[in-house]
Structure formats: structure tokens, C-alpha cells
Symmetry: C2
Subunit: 112 residues, 2 copies
DNA sequence: GGTCCGTCGTCTACATTGTAGACGGATGAG
DNA sequence: CTCATCCGTCTACAATGTAGACGACGGACC
């Protein structure tokens, strides 16, 4: 009865990035957060598609913000992770932590 | 120039599970390790297919072991994570750690 | 005020990864 | 010898990851 479908790699990243931004999770910043942390480009398509699927699953939600903050209405959607999303994230985390137990040494080596 | 394709969720699990078993990473045990840690069933198909792709990418390799350990030759393939695999794993880890920075509190809450 | 430009978000299409179950070969039991 | 199992392979399909084309909006510039 455990969740059948896990969060994908990228989905998790998006969720985490939103959480990082807390209450100011605007699309642009979330995207930047991911690009910065993961050190790779994130195309708009990849980003929004994932966001869409996440919303369809009820893991994120958003609200339109006042349009006057930057004068650009379209850029002002604020995202948030739902309880369900948080829960799924924790579940994935748990599994990874369990699987990583005792491997910190191996995983931390940075090679030459 | 950073790696274009990331490790998938399940791929990472498999890699970690192999590492857990160290030098005794037989298919069966690796599979058990995952099922135990992730608390979900792992079908043979999913498992071997992933292993196959991982090998094609050069992230894991295996060797046939002597057939007399348990008397079952087919079950004696020993898997190992390659340097490239380890490297990819670390890369993914790094990204996740960065994205998770400061979120331990949120992620650790266990609800009710 | 009209035109050009850059940015945002949407959409379509396709590649990669995730997953299940059918299938065949091999082994040990009876 | 026949049966019941278990392992690993294979096929087929679902879900996730990704890029770029497209249209809309607002600002800059003339």
C-alpha cells in the first residue's frame, strides 16, 4: 500500500527548490535555484512540464500574486509545496537515507 | 559540459544497494536491500532492466563467480559499481545536498 | 502611438527511465 | 523422469525528463 509511484529525480529537485524559497517561490527564482545547485541548465519546458505534473498530483499549488510587485503579472505566480508533496518528499528521502547508511565515506570522496 | 543526463531515481537506488553489499553484491541481495530500504516491491523486470542500462552506461560491471558457492551458477553474478558510477552518484548527491540545505527541519518532521 | 525586442508561460513532440509480467533455461525434489 | 521453483531475459508500455517552437505581454525606443 506504500506509494506506488515515486517522485522522479527532477520532481524532487523542483519540490526542494520551492521549499528553499519559502513564501517567495516565484518560477524564475525556483528555476535559478535549481540551476545553481545542480549546476546545469533547466529549460523552460522541462521546468513547467514538471511543475504541471506535480500540480496534477497535488504536490504543489500556486496562487496568483498581486501584479504590481514588479509590474509583470505573468511572472508573479507563487508556488508552494502541499502537505502531500512534503510527505512524498520525505518518503523518498527516507528510502535514500536507508540505502545510503554507512556509505558516507564512499560518497564523499571527491577523487583527485 | 556537465553531465547531460542524470541518474534516475531508481538507478541511484540500485547503485547504492550494490555499494551496500560491497564485494558480495549478488542480484538477489541487492534486490532485497532495495525492497527493504525503500519498503516497496521491486519486480525482476524493473530491476534487471535498470541494471542493464546502468551497465550500458558503464556505471556498473559484473563478473561471473565460481558456480559452487551455492550450487546455483546463474545466481552468482557479482555486481560492482564502477568509478564512473560512483562519480555520477556523487554528482547527484551533491545537487541534492545543495538543494536540501537548511531544509532538514522541514524534511524530518514525521507528521502525526 | 507604433514598432521592435526580450521575457514569460504554454504546448507539442520525443528521449529516457521506471515497471510489470510472460517466457525459457536450469536446478533440486520426489 | 516429471514437477515445482527460482533466476535472468525479453517485450511492451507507463511515467518522467527535456528541448524548442509558439504566442502573449509589457517595456524601450523612435
Amino acid at each position: 500500500m506504500s506509494p506506488k509511484s515515486f517522485l522522479g529525480e527532477f520532481e524532487q529537485m523542483v519540490l526542494l527548490a520551492i521549499l528553499q524559497q519559502k513564501d517567495r517561490a516565484f518560477a524564475l527564482e525556483v528555476r535559478r535555484e535549481i540551476e545553481g545547485s545542480a549546476d546545469r541548465a533547466v529549460s523552460r519546458g522541462a521546468f513547467y512540464t514538471t511543475l504541471d505534473r506535480l500540480e496534477k498530483k497535488g504536490f504543489v499549488e500556486w496562487e496568483e500574486a498581486e501584479a504590481d510587485v514588479t509590474g509583470r503579472a505573468s511572472a508573479l505566480r507563487r508556488f508552494a509545496v502541499t502537505e502531500a508533496g512534503l510527505s512524498a518528499l520525505r518518503e523518498s528521502r527516507r528510502a535514500f537515507d536507508a540505502l545510503s547508511r554507512g556509505l558516507d565515506g564512499v560518497l564523499r570522496e571527491e577523487g583527485a
